[in-house]
Symmetry: C2
Subunit: 204 residues, 2 copies
């Protein structure tokens, strides 16, 4: 297997943390987006026709794109420790929370980033009003998540799961490039962040 990786991307980081939690060591190929290596005819034809990363190449040469699809494949091949929940109830709970973390925090952070950061200036049509709306949404959702986390250690279940991984990559992105930080009064969210950011896998 080969893992096509991209530095600084929240989505490739999600898979790197996931692999580290599973203790998997899959050879990585760094792709240079700035040089357009993800847009070459060969990459589009054989790895991912959307030009997005990450991509997992299996030993038969076929490829799986989309970070959560890669994580799910690895979960099915290496079930321990379970990061998508154990029984049906837990699996549904993890799916629900992973999606909430994506739709309510990670995607708004991605949009705020590409629609306001100078890195994307001139490479696409940036809409500053949309970036602002996304920043406001993240702040509002941090308030919501702070209340949800009262009395809980992790986002979806009693254990650390893929929903925590998504949330921690989202919080990192929001802080790093969107200037949205956990507020002092969001004590449950801050305690959760301390809990996940100090795991040995957090820097994967």
């Amino acid at each position: 297997m080969k893992f096509y990786d991209l530095a600084g991307s929240p989505n490739t980081r999600r898979v790197r943390i996931f692999m580290a939690e599973k203790n998997l060591d899959i050879p990585a190929v760094m792709v240079d987006m700035m040089k357009g290596e993800n847009r070459t005819a060969k990459f589009l034809e054989t790895k991912n026709s959307l030009g997005l990363l990450p991509v997992l190449e299996l030993d038969d040469g076929s490829c799986i794109a989309e970070s959560v699809a890669i994580c799910r494949y690895l979960e099915l091949q290496h079930p321990e420790p379970p990061l998508f929940g154990r029984d049906a109830r837990e699996q549904a709970q993890v799916e629900m929370w992973n999606r909430r973390m994506e739709h309510e925090i990670l995607l708004p952070a991605m949009h705020a980033f590409v629609h306001s950061h100078k890195m994307w200036d001139g490479r696409m049509e940036q809409i500053p009003a949309w970036a602002d709306a996304c920043r406001d949404k993240i702040r509002e959702r941090y308030d919501w998540l702070d209340k949800e986390l009262a009395g809980r250690d992790f986002v979806a279940t009693a254990d650390y799961t893929v929903a925590d991984i998504t949330a921690q990559c989202a919080v990192l992105l929001a802080k790093g490039v969107c200037d949205v930080r956990i507020a002092d009064e969001q004590v449950n969210l801050a305690a959760w962040w301390e809990r996940v950011a100090t795991r040995p896998t957090a820097r994967a």
Copy 2:
């Protein structure tokens, strides 16, 4: 079990089609969003703290939100016919394609809808430039999907899956409220649409 449903929503429709494909008959409770029934203190406290639909209430009173989390729970309880793929490879393929259909078509259609339609005027800050960018993205992704569907009956595997359900709800939304239609030259996409839209479950 009880299914909290909303008329006209692509996300509740995804679950209704999924249940119909599984031949499941779960009692539905229609929620009136225009009357704010999804924002009452009771709904937020006991059904979904985000006020979103659909929601599946289990017999013990606990609730699962997020359409795909509900579908996954139902798949685990009623595995036949499999709509999330069979083996690990297929399950990863379905996850990849379901996410591509969400991120590349359904979400842009949702954004184009709420940021341009008169139904949302005055209920949120609409950003018309963002709605236009989303419409352009859908048109571009239709071209991409048309090429991908060459020689294929369904989106993710040889069988109809949840990725087709997501795609058909997205196409319906794009046509109904975003004025984006499958173009005459997109023959593979048109043939796929004919195939899914004529299934007995399509009007669920």
